[in-house]
């Protein structure tokens, strides 16, 4: 059948019908997305950096003022406060999301009945709007809400979750981890991809369950873990909706600036005070942080791209 293959897929035939006008075909296929890439994605990133060196008015346009925005920002105590609050959130959120996500995935990978039901229950919060989760969450953490009802049932006194500056970030973390279903699905896929022979061999060698977990499971699912951590880090850097919804009395960033996140400060600067220049400076500082992260992702993209379930 060699001749048949040669005729059908021979080099001459394969090349000729595509050559002519190929560039134009490709161009037409890609045109709308290329426009979007330039105008809506990469163009804006560059423009944000340009704006960070400008004083910009919505009416009248901008003029360059050098590093003045950066000097102002670095002297701004809310910039440092926002950075600190955001990092407190990230420091709690990433490990919590990892542990709960992996724990639930591990649990659902056991040989149990009604797997689909348990999986849906854990996954469903992740598909709902963040604001609905927070609206319900706020109500649950009210002084006489569900959480405090349970705490009082075991004889303790429940704290004021939404009015205590020390508790507002942990409360935000708990509610965001409620949406760990996305991470759980990713970990579940990774766990299912671990060949069961490895465990059988480990059983024969007399390795305990915890040893198996740390010596077999964790190394083999590490690409998924690494990938999710980068996603969570980017999500964490952007966190700000909880600070709009949760604080008692509906004070954004409250109580007492305890949940004044970096992104909230950026949002207020850009879209409430319309200080476009300084807001762009805040965004540019975020760009530098995210670029480092994206670079790491591209480094591992080979592994990521060929990810198959």
């Amino acid at each position: 059948m060699e001749w048949e293959r040669n005729i059908l897929y021979g080099i001459g035939i394969r090349r000729s019908p595509l050559k002519k006008g190929k560039i134009w075909t490709v161009f037409l296929f890609l045109l709308p997305w290329l426009v979007s890439l330039v105008v809506l994605w990469y163009g804006p990133i560059i423009y944000t950096v340009v704006l960070s060196f400008m004083k910009y008015r919505l009416i009248g346009g901008g003029r360059f003022i050098g590093f003045k925005n950066y000097i102002n920002i670095f002297q701004d105590r809310f910039f440092w406060l926002g950075l600190r609050n955001t990092f407190s959130f990230i420091v709690l959120y990433i490990p919590a999301n990892f542990i709960i996500g992996l724990f639930t995935a591990y649990m659902l990978n056991l040989n149990i009945r009604l797997k689909g039901l348990w999986r849906s229950i854990i996954y469903v919060p992740a598909v709902l709007p963040v604001i609905a989760i927070l609206a319900l969450g706020k109500f649950i953490f009210y002084p006489y809400g569900l959480v405090n009802t349970f705490i009082e049932m075991i004889g303790l006194k429940g704290p004021l979750w939404l009015a205590n500056p020390n508790l507002i970030i942990p409360t935000s973390v708990i509610l965001m981890v409620w949406q760990c279903g996305t991470a759980m699905i990713v970990y579940l896929g990774a766990l299912q991809a671990v060949p069961s022979q490895y465990y059988e061999a480990a059983d024969i060698d007399g390795l305990g369950k915890s040893q198996q977990f740390f010596q077999i499971t964790l190394p083999l699912i590490s690409p998924a873990v690494f990938f999710r951590m980068i996603i969570d880090l980017i999500f964490g850097l952007m966190i700000f909706i909880p600070s709009l919804i949760l604080p008692a009395g509906n004070v954004p960033g409250g109580p007492g600036n305890a949940s004044l996140f970096y992104a909230l400060y950026l949002y207020e600067k850009a879209f409430q005070r319309f200080n476009i220049g300084e807001a762009s400076t805040l965004a540019t500082i975020l760009i530098i942080i995210s670029f480092v992260i994206t670079w790491a992702v591209i480094k591992m993209s080979k592994r990521y791209v060929y990810y198959e379930v």
């Binding site: 490709v26 609905a132 409620w178 850097l237 952007m238 509906n250």
Partner: protein, 281 residues
């Protein structure tokens, strides 16, 4: 995977106890949500708390429609979702096709740039986008919510590309030999095979537009244009804690109901989409 077979009763008991406890933790807020939504003002303030209000006040669902402009919020959100889906389907299938089934120099560069978009936080691009839409006089319409998503999403393009790579290239070659144009191959041969991935893209786009809050918060200044999440945000801001909580919770139920319905019918697509990309959409 029958590794638990030789385990004793104690092991099984603990396993199921943990599974049920964790599920309860995840699910109990929804029970509380429903129970609160069915209370009236008196039951709401009762101490100790009632978890099964009797009688149940289903009329709260009617009240929500009377008190809040929920129909408008729904129709705005659906408008945004429909136009986003239509645009996204066209742009993303074309781009996904060009990134997987035609060979040319620079393809990988464009793909890496597309992939990287998934990791660009919105705040890095939203200020210039806002200025562009302002210049074009689109602030005060729904267009700023529609245009960016109708011009393709990196997530959809990525899903599309991964799917298309699984279709044998021989299929395209054969059509090319028969003199079919590239657009003909795309439209008549490849797209009909893509129904599963197109369904996934539709569902993720719908969910993404429905759940989006940050963009409406930035672009929509006129209450007539509010989407469902903005409606909920407004209602939350108006409510004095405790007094109208039952109606707020009813609103929450209505705002998540469409997503829950989609989820019930298309759970597999959701889970596959996440498993393929590791992302939410």
């Amino acid at each position: 995977m029958n590794r638990t077979q030789h385990k004793g009763f104690g092991y099984l008991f603990i396993t199921y106890a943990v599974v049920i406890l964790v599920s309860l933790l995840f699910f109990s807020p929804f029970v509380y949500l429903l129970s609160t939504a069915l209370k009236d003002e008196v039951q709401l303030l009762m101490q100790p708390r009632v978890f099964f209000p009797l009688p149940m006040h289903f009329e709260n669902f009617v009240k929500v429609f009377q008190q809040y402009d929920i129909v408008r919020y729904f129709s705005n959100t659906i408008t945004v979702a429909i136009f986003s889906i239509l645009g996204n389907l066209i742009v993303s299938t074309l781009a996904g096709y060009a990134l997987s089934r035609i060979e040319y120099r620079g393809r990988e560069v464009i793909f890496i740039l597309t992939l990287s978009c998934m990791f660009i936080p919105l705040f890095l691009i939203i200020i210039p986008r806002f200025l562009i839409f302002k210049k074009l006089g689109m602030i005060g319409t729904l267009l700023p919510l529609i245009i960016p998503s109708a011009f393709g999403s990196p997530f959809s393009i990525f899903l599309m590309r991964q799917f298309l790579r699984g279709i044998p290239m021989d299929l395209s070659e054969a059509a090319r030999i028969d003199g079919c144009s590239e657009f003909g191959i795309y439209g008549r041969i490849i797209m009909p095979l893509c129904k599963p991935v197109i369904a996934t893209i539709i569902i993720f786009t719908a969910q993404w537009r429905w759940n989006d809050f940050i963009e409406p918060l930035i672009y929509l200044q006129n209450e007539k244009l509010y989407t469902i999440t903005m409606g909920l945000y407004t209602v939350l801001g108006l409510s004095a804690e405790d007094i109208t909580t039952n109606l707020v919770m009813t609103f929450v139920i209505l705002s998540i109901l469409p997503i829950i319905i989609i989820f019930v019918f298309a759970q597999k697509l959701f889970i596959e989409g996440v498993a393929h990309t590791g992302l939410k959409g």
